[in-house]
Subunit: 286 residues, 2 copies
């Protein structure tokens, strides 16, 4: 959880193409329902995960705040002071650009399905007609691994390959963030998503539950999701290739061209019958 939070916090900098973080704060609400022993183990592990991830990102935690709370809360702040040449303005998408996504969708579904499996709940029994226990566990591992992965390499390459605009995909889901991105462009554009790369099995699980979480409509919340980058088609192809080449060193660097930028009215849509790309545990497309 600490690692994922830290990666999620840093992602806001990475979405601006900023790869060097000057300073981080860690914010903790420690549950008053934990016993002293539980606190000792859980809080220490969360702080360690946050700290490890910050170190991996080449930064460190200089402060923060811890409070008592009825449930666990974890968050943080990442700050950088930059020259204009060190970040990308997120408003330069133009018709003809394509949209690249750097992590698969479906983290919310994977985490919930896994929880149902552990609890052997009714919903798990429902999902288990389309998903084996092993598939559910793999999806959860896959989700955890990609949530803990930094968008730093994706950010560095984004500057190198002349990104026109970028956001990161988190609580509002792919469509929500694409909408926000479309709305803040200088040009009158719309964004159309044709492909949905989804953690293996999660599209079937969502469909089987009557469209649970809105995953296939692009509205399922993601935690520490990937970057959604608008860039020219040529740059995008090079960008995806370069990002995939880093896979071995930073534990997964798949990227998919998921849509296009057209002249339009500053909004985003998911195309009718989008193509579902099943992404397996190794981050590769099946």
């Amino acid at each position: 959880m600490g690692r994922i939070t830290c990666a999620n916090v840093l992602s806001d900098l990475y979405a601006m193409g900023v790869t060097e973080c000057d300073n981080m704060l860690m914010l903790l609400g420690v549950s008053n329902k934990l016993s002293t022993d539980e606190k000792e183990i859980v809080v220490k592990l969360i702080m360690q995960g946050f700290r490890d991830c910050a170190l991996e990102a080449g930064t460190s935690i200089q402060g923060g705040q811890t409070v008592v709370n009825p449930w666990m809360v974890i968050g943080g702040v990442a700050t950088s002071v930059c020259l204009p040449s060190e970040y990308c303005q997120p408003d330069g998408a133009v018709p003809g650009d394509v949209l690249v996504l750097t992590k698969a969708l479906g983290t919310q579904v994977a985490v919930n399905v896994h929880q149902w499996l552990i609890e052997q709940s009714d919903r798990w029994r429902q999902v288990s007609t389309v998903l084996t226990e092993q598939q559910a566990r793999q999806a959860y591992q896959s989700a955890t691994r990609q949530m803990a992965r930094l968008n730093r390499t994706a950010a560095r390459l984004m500057r190198q390959y002349n990104a026109h605009a970028c956001t990161d995909v988190t609580g509002f889901g792919l469509l929500g963030h694409a909408n926000n991105l479309a709305a803040c462009q200088k040009a009158d554009v719309s964004m159309v998503v044709h492909n949905l790369p989804i953690i293996a099995g999660m599209a079937a699980a969502s469909a089987h539950l009557g469209g649970a979480f809105g995953l296939l409509r692009g509205t399922s919340a993601e935690t520490s999701g990937g970057l959604l980058v608008a860039m020219s088609r040529t740059d995008a192809a090079e960008y995806c290739k370069a990002l995939e080449a880093t896979s071995s060193s930073d534990g997964g660097g798949a990227a998919w061209i998921v849509g296009v930028v057209e002249a339009g009215s500053r909004s985003a849509v998911i195309a009718d019958k989008p193509r579902i790309i099943e992404v397996n545990a190794a981050g590769n497309t099946e």
Copy 2:
């Protein structure tokens, strides 16, 4: 609550002598126990108070995060990028310096006593033998007013009057923060507190409750407390005068010389039988 939080957050900058804040974030946990109507009123007022206080401080809120939580949480982050000439290192106190405090102590006691009064609890019946209802209400108002007051003028004047070291007094109480300050000085010093300026009536209330909150031992937590500044005796006298002269414009600017810096072993103590200074609602010493 919004105002107080904002003043408390900014206080960390002011304790470094930094008077210009570049950017603020507001962090909100909205209680899931509030009805829609309550949310509409309470959350709006808290956000408005935070925003008003930020404006008063010459800064503004550029971001933040809101989450759902079992109880209300409010916090924030204040960031400034400074030249070395724009802040004070907090490590230059030397023997012979005196300690100045810029807000009275006792906010925790005042807020609790007021709560007991509202609830007409047993503790209120106990305290009411040494405190009238009117005194309890005045103490609460006085506490609220000073918690919402910015330490900005105190910070500006501190640079002007050559402060040697400073901290702000919050959760660890006067003694806790004095201890931290003494521990981080370049010189081997100790800090001895002789005077305790306390919101009128709160010393009696605390004493009557068997030393409740540790107010007379300097360990009662403060919220958005004053600055504790080490400076030469001459500068301190001028500093207090200058700060008091700003009272009318910024709603209270009392300051008291509360102790001395001596050669010692990097810790702080409250002197035996410290002098209690009763501070009335107008921020003046009675």
